[in-house]
Symmetry: C2
Subunit: 320 residues, 2 copies
């Protein structure tokens, strides 16, 4: 895909370090530690692509805004690692393990503030409204996730609210902001937002599926990590009502166990598999991809539009 | 003071809860826990007063902005308590002890985002630039403070940079934003910012002094808490070079001790007192008050101007 080409990604990498301008060396060190550990840079790519879709090319101002969205994402990862007491992130020791909780929290705060500052210099009040609302929903989603740990009675509505905050809303915001940079109409901005939300839902559903099915080496963490942490995700949620009373009781016990037995985890995984939880999750993700593709009808046809369609489809085909 | 009257404070209290609009009950609970624990509401008062100073009265839009500044302050307190591993705040168990680090971090994030959201609805891009820059400096200041713990070689420059981030910059921002709400010129906004910075420096210097001299009951925490935590503040910093080599070595040892002896703390406190560190701190605070009062010359004379002058002077006279 051209929008994920080496040139585009290289430009993003360059800008990611140039807009980290703190005088405090520590911030640069930790910021770069997590920024250097990679990631797909999907968020800045979405900003740049929606802007290009309408303007034909990217202007200088597009980059700091694209980078700001990656900073927001990075800030939320830093705080997330503190919240989860994470050991690793993308195969490397998590920032909280290397630099301590205190430093990690404050560097996250700096990155949030720096992102908003970039918006105030290169963006608009309309973008800031959308983005700050997204950050509100992100923290709400993560808080709800925390609260629902070990809770077998979590509803689909609650699960999707968590998903929205964890992933979808920031994707939505990237597309909204990119469309605003491109001079899109309010209807186009709303469509872009919904496209982003939908691929975000699809993305996280696949993440939750891969947590059950992926190769541990590719995943960079043990499988069924969510289950181990007491988090009920769609694969299990979608088949839970079809389990027998005994099976439900067993699952409940595993979910509530702080240090569940590997064999018990395997048993739950097999239940989910046999009841068709994996297929259902994939189906649900595809539904969201279809919604996303439909939203693109509100944009003029172009090579970038096709790539956004491809990107949505790629999300459900990825293997890690 | 009329600007600190019961009516004004009551209006602020009312608005503080009405703009906390999360659907997640947890957020309201923790947000209100810390908001209810009091504080002087100096930040919203500054916003409202600078606006009134220019417009003659407060308009509806002034309140959400005033409240947003208190949310930023509250968010930073929440994160600060996690960073410091605090046990108490304003005489009550700190939020992190009651709700856990994870929930406290995320609620802080929510409050930061909600503040910026309120700015995007009721404020302007100019205000957001000033405020997001302030939040950047706040996290930088707190990080620098962390890094300098136990470091006897901290310079005055570093100390004042920490002070700026910890307290001064948000006071400055409140005054800037209030002046912007009042329709002030750029020169007035800059003067207001400097007034706020200066009273912020004075405020924190007095805080650092009271940490040595206050009555433990009024303070709500043990005296010389900074010293115990390895933090070198102005009273000690201002006399450090006048200590003998032996005294310096002793202070260094106490500063680096994770659990210093009460008697040793007392000895350092007496050294600081005898060398005149308390008077010097008070003098320094007064210098900042004078700078603050001078900045007010750029505003039209009014009853509110006199009250801002009084407020600056009150800061160095307070006893807790």
């Amino acid at each position: 895909m051209k929008i994920l080409s080496r040139e585009v990604l290289k430009e993003i990498e360059k800008r990611l370090s140039s807009y980290m301008d703190s005088e405090v060396e520590f911030i640069l060190k930790i910021g770069n530690y997590i920024l250097d550990s990679g990631g797909k840079r999907l968020r800045p790519v979405l900003v740049l692509t929606f802007s290009k879709l309408l303007k034909g090319n990217n202007e200088e101002n597009d980059y700091p805004i694209a980078v700001a969205m990656e900073y927001l994402h990075t800030a939320s990862l830093l705080h997330d690692d503190v919240v989860d007491g994470a050991d690793t992130r993308r195969g490397k020791p998590a920032a909280n393990r290397v630099f301590g909780n205190d430093t990690t929290v404050l560097t996250g705060d700096y990155m949030y503030a720096n992102a908003l500052y970039l918006f105030s210099v290169y963006g608009s009040i309309d973008m800031i409204r959308n983005v700050s609302d997204a950050v509100k929903k992100m923290s709400e989603g993560q808080l709800l996730e925390l609260k629902k740990i070990g809770d077998i009675d979590i509803t689909e509505e609650e699960y999707f609210k968590i998903l929205k905050g964890k992933t979808a809303v920031l994707f939505g915001s990237c597309c909204y902001v990119g469309t605003a940079l491109g001079g899109g109409t309010q209807q186009q901005k709303d469509s872009a937002y919904n496209y982003g939300l939908s691929i975000g839902f699809a993305f996280q559903l696949i993440d939750d599926l891969l947590d059950y099915t992926a190769d541990e080496k590719k995943l960079g963490k043990p499988v069924c990590n969510d289950l181990r942490e007491g988090k009920i995700t769609y694969p299990l949620l979608s088949v839970f009502n079809e389990l027998s009373q005994e099976e439900k009781a067993f699952v409940k016990q595993v979910i509530r166990d702080i240090n569940p037995d590997k064999k018990h985890i395997e048993t739950v995984k097999n239940m989910v598999k046999e009841k068709g939880g994996f297929e259902r999750t994939l189906e649900k993700a595809k539904e969201f991809v279809n919604i996303a593709v439909k939203e693109l009808e509100n944009f003029p046809d172009s090579e970038y539009l096709k790539e956004l369609e491809e990107l949505a489809k790629y999300i459900v085909e990825r293997e890690f």
